[in-house]
Symmetry: C2
Subunit: 231 residues, 2 copies
Amino acid sequence: MISVVIIGKGNVGIHLYKAFLNADGIGVTQINSRNLENVPIADVTIIAVSDDAIAEVSSKVKNSFVVHTSGSVSMISLKNKTDRGVFYMLQTFSKNKEVDFSEVPFCLEAENNEKYLFLEKLAKSIGNNVYQIDSKQRKAIHVAAVFVNNFTNHMYKMGNDICIEHQVPFEILQPLIEETAIKVKTLLPEKAQTGPAIRNDKKTIKNHLDLLNNKQKEIYTIITKSIQNGD
Amino acid sequence: MISVVIIGKGNVGIHLYKAFLNADGIGVTQINSRNLENVPIADVTIIAVSDDAIAEVSSKVKNSFVVHTSGSVSMISLKNKTDRGVFYMLQTFSKNKEVDFSEVPFCLEAENNEKYLFLEKLAKSIGNNVYQIDSKQRKAIHVAAVFVNNFTNHMYKMGNDICIEHQVPFEILQPLIEETAIKVKTLLPEKAQTGPAIRNDKKTIKNHLDLLNNKQKEIYTIITKSIQNGD
């Protein structure tokens, strides 16, 4: 039996706690990050709090192995005196939506091989996709995730605005959105590109710009150029 | 039996031909757009050629009902003297990838209700999702599609570049990419937004910028601002 303490009751903490509850061979306790006086002893203590609070929370934990779950904080930011590691799950967690951990990539890091193998065992108790990722790589993944998640979602938002303005249901775009996402599973994004920008179809680009407001025009123009430059 | 002629052997023409071949109650013929001397007579003639060629091709067709398949060309750009319409399928078609027409939204337009109902029947012989969309709405959909497909794919491309540079497999982002796409099925994109931009997390934004090259920085900065401004 592996004993796990999760510190933090945000989206990540809550979903992770539920997953470990249902896992074989794991005993899990969850505590609020404001009650650090009596952290139960455990094989691993998982700090799932906001990035800014990780250093302070970790400085108060005396347990033997402490990890955080952040994509953008380095392992050495942990201020516990014992072994350190990272247990980063690369997925977007929403409050009211179940997480399928079998699909989540686990990005793991530890100060030594023994602890790494321990984290791997822990991840495999709830998931399948485990990667050994150091702090530098994890930072790069986090930036890449901003592009493919946050920025992509903003493209959906701008598409939705255009639909609202022209009285078209956004749902009409959903199959295209999903196909676009699935396509890059088998085709490099560079090879998957289509549309007026990559074709340098000036007439269509002009027609599109005529339909947009100034803010939409700015984004349209800059991304079109970026596609054409192969950025 | 409905008789269909498809003019054009590009991606759209080829996939559409295959779909009609397998449909009940449809007889379909496909011809190359360079052989317009002997277009077979048919209940509907579908012009699936590049946008720029639609007017010219349509001017040479004498059949009674002629439609095109373009998202960005208006119905009245058709130059045949008989009834006109539009049979636009809102999906990205790739040469070597099967198309599931049951998932494709059909955006239909015709000059009168009788012809519209005919197109609806035709679309339902191969698909399920049929929308009555006029030329103005279709143009807006086409621009929105550029945002959610071409521009989104460019975000994937930039994410992939970051992965390559930092020796991380791009596949690690695939579950996040797919979850991001599926999320907007049930949540407005505006509500689905997360990450450093919407949180105005300046420290993380600065860390991200430090990791990017100048061109990536430009895109990162502009989209971050656009998210923060609620554009």
